[in-house]
């Protein structure tokens, strides 16, 4: 880790040489500017969605939950607006995860660790916690001073206030999480009256403590030591990705404003960087961006804002620090115009993969069956010979009706000789010897089906058969394959 040790931590070096270096506390300073505004915007957007999405209602009729986004563990259903996911359809989650991973790659190919800087939950919550800290304890200098102060009533009051608000945010974070798994308004009331299930309180406790610890205390250490993405990102990035970059060709040699002006007057080389350390002081991970791209940098662009503010003040053009590519630094040294190739094979491939996986998901989502049949052949015994020599096979047939109203299905077994009988236990209605099975709204029904073939029918030891269900109104057809077993008679 290459944070700015020499200049800023000299006073903290211990008397005896130690082999371990304690983490240095970082006091990020407030800043304002374009990227700060983008960060605030995304913070409001993402946290707004996270905290309030469970309260959005979506009418699905009287027998279904009316929460727009809901993971109903108890009834094994997941709802996302007009989409209802059954347990056997969780592969959609795989698709979402693939899209998420490739979207991360795409972001990386376009603008480096832009995810880390703006959208990562760790960044967003840390940002929010830092805002609280600033409101309560003041900005960088005041916080540094407060830490050095001896314990006093004022200090304790500030500390308690800060931790109270931190815990409130953390608690609401955990609270919002459980709302995705139960009807939100009901659960909120249950939580308030201490009637909610234990598991809700446990999850709130877990997420409250993780939010409080990770966003309040661990902060940049999560990014630097715990998160695998910086390492993976380093392997994925290339010279054309936009990264937060210090234009050292313009900034160097750095010096104080006065010194550099003097140098410039004398016709000596003088850079635009006035060594004010603003870029370093606003950095939430304590990076000195002037040392080049480094693992600790989360690409949030706050140093750009800080530097631009200084440049504006001293009447120099902004953009001494900015999003730029490795390639452009090289090009500028060679006196060429900078280029920004966002569209290139790498980004095209990533985008194509996202579109492809998205299209496959959309296609399967639009064309999925709203009925399902699964057939399980009896194993013990695989077939039974009846008193008159007939052969009977037993099956456990499970029908799923994914519509929100009751539907009936006609069961037909194909592949058997015409005089084969099909009987469903506990089912009286039938049409032309084919049982009619009524399945309730949004449920599955398991029924035992007996298929009997007369003894005089010569059957091979194994006959492939198809179980076909036909929905009575819309004529929706779903099939499942199985076999009919018979004794190997001469």
């Amino acid at each position: 880790m290459s944070t700015d040790t020499e200049t800023h931590q000299a006073g903290q070096a211990g008397q005896t040489e130690t082999w371990f270096e304690a983490a240095k506390k970082i006091y990020p300073m407030a800043t304002h500017g374009k990227f700060r505004r983008i960060k605030w915007g995304l913070l409001f957007l993402t946290l707004g969605i996270y905290y309030f999405l469970p309260f959005i209602r979506y009418d699905r009729g009287p027998d279904a939950p009316s929460q727009a986004v809901l993971v109903d563990m108890e009834n094994r259903r997941a709802y996302f607006f007009f989409i209802e996911i059954w347990p056997q359809e969780v592969y959609y989650l795989t698709g979402l995860l693939i899209i998420a991973a490739v979207a991360l790659f795409l972001m990386n190919a376009v603008a480096g660790r832009i995810w880390c800087g703006y959208l990562c939950p760790q960044t967003v919550w840390t940002d929010l916690f830092l805002w609280v800290e600033r409101k309560v304890e003041g900005d960088r200098r005041e916080r540094m001073a407060l830490d050095k102060e001896p314990l006093s009533f004022g200090k304790v009051r500030k500390r308690i206030t800060k931790h109270f608000f931190w815990l409130m945010i953390a608690w609401w974070t955990g609270g919002a999480w459980v709302l995705y798994f139960n009807d939100a308004p009901t659960l909120v009331w249950q939580l308030l009256t201490f009637q909610a299930p234990m598991v809700a309180y446990v999850w709130i406790a877990i997420l409250t403590s993780t939010t409080y610890l990770l966003a309040g205390f661990m902060r940049e250490q999560v990014c630097i030591y715990m998160c695998p993405w910086p390492r993976i990102q380093a392997a994925l990035t290339d010279e054309k990705a936009l990264n937060v970059t210090y234009l050292w060709d313009r900034g160097e040699p750095r010096g104080s404003l006065k010194q550099n002006r003097k140098l410039a007057e004398q016709g000596m080389p003088a850079g635009d960087c006035i060594d004010c350390y603003q870029c370093f002081q606003v950095c939430p991970t304590g990076v000195d961006i002037r040392k080049g791209m480094q693992l600790d940098c989360i690409q949030c662009g706050l140093c750009i804002d800080a530097c631009d503010n200084v440049m504006t003040k001293i009447g120099k053009p902004t953009g001494l620090i900015g999003y730029d590519t490795d390639e452009n630094i090289q090009r500028r040294i060679e006196g060429k115009e900078p280029v920004y190739e966002i569209v290139r094979p790498r980004t095209i491939i990533y985008a194509a993969v996202i579109v492809l996986v998205g299209a496959i998901m959309l296609f399967t989502l639009l064309n999925r069956d709203f009925a399902d049949i699964s057939v399980l052949h009896d194993r013990n015994p695989v077939f039974v010979e009846l008193s008159d020599g007939s052969v009977r096979n037993g099956y456990t047939v499970r029908l799923s009706n994914k519509r929100l109203h009751s539907r009936s299905f006609m069961l037909h077994v194909e592949g058997m000789p015409p005089n084969t009988s099909v009987e469903a236990i506990g089912v009286d209605t039938s049409f032309a010897g084919r049982p009619i099975l009524e399945v309730g709204p949004d449920t599955t029904r398991e029924v035992r089906v007996l298929v009997t073939s007369p003894g005089w029918e010569k059957l091979p030891p194994s006959t492939p058969v198809t179980f076909r269900i036909t929905e009575s109104v819309m004529g929706e057809v779903v099939t499942a394959k199985d076999t009919f077993k018979a004794p190997d008679r001469p």
Binding site: E17, P381, L386, S387, G426, R448, G455
Partner: protein, 292 residues
Amino acid sequence: MADIHNKEIDQVSGVETTGHEWDGLKELNNPLPKWWLYLFYVTIVWAVIYWVLYPSWPLISSYTTGILGANQRAEAIAAYEEVIAGRSEFADKVVATPLEDIGKDQQLLQFALANGQAAFGDNCAPCHGGGGAGSEGYPNLQDDTWIWGGTLEDIHTSLQYGIRSDHDEARFGEMPAFGRDELLTGEEIDQVANFVASRVGLTAEEGVDLAAGQTLYADNCAACHGESLEGIQEVGAPSLMSANYLYGKSLADIKAQIDTPRNGVMPAWAGRLDPATIKSLTLYVHSFGGGI
């Protein structure tokens, strides 16, 4: 051991050594982290609290019970009773509903079949097999050969009182031992067995008088098994025309059964299983295919 009053400081790290040395390697005195140590103390305190609260120390003939009165057996029984209570709504309904009507209520039928399946695995599977397919001497419940009848009511009766069990209302039918008790001679047994075999599609032995066998059948067997070998359910005499024989379908098997018959016993379950479970079992067994 090093002199404890003259502590040695390691040059490189500035940490004092413990004085332990192995082949020139000296152990540095880096104490355990404080948080670790305190956690260790907490566990000790915790253990003491636990001794007081929960059963912990073995005594000579008993053990310390702890002031909370914790008892895993009581907890298990409470959990069991909770399950029974939770099921009672359906179980009571099963008892109250006639067997024929249970199937009309989907939910009730699902409960009964699931309950029956579990009870079958615990009580019936050892003899009748996991899927009810039986084996020689143990009736196959999946086919349609029902010696004592295969309607819901018949199955329910067999389950409650058993077959040849010691229950007063047990179904009782016994095949006489024609050979062992010298009711028929060896030759006569051969004749009647061959007659039966010839009628049910087996190959009879050559040179055996089938006409004599027919007469013997009419005199000795027809009373129970019927004039045309169709069996009589009321006395538990199986149909001999069935494809499925309880004790094997071959000439040798038939001879053995006439000579020294086997008469299996089905235990009575009334009193051993609760009425709801017996009814559930009835429905479950009937769902194998039922019969008449």
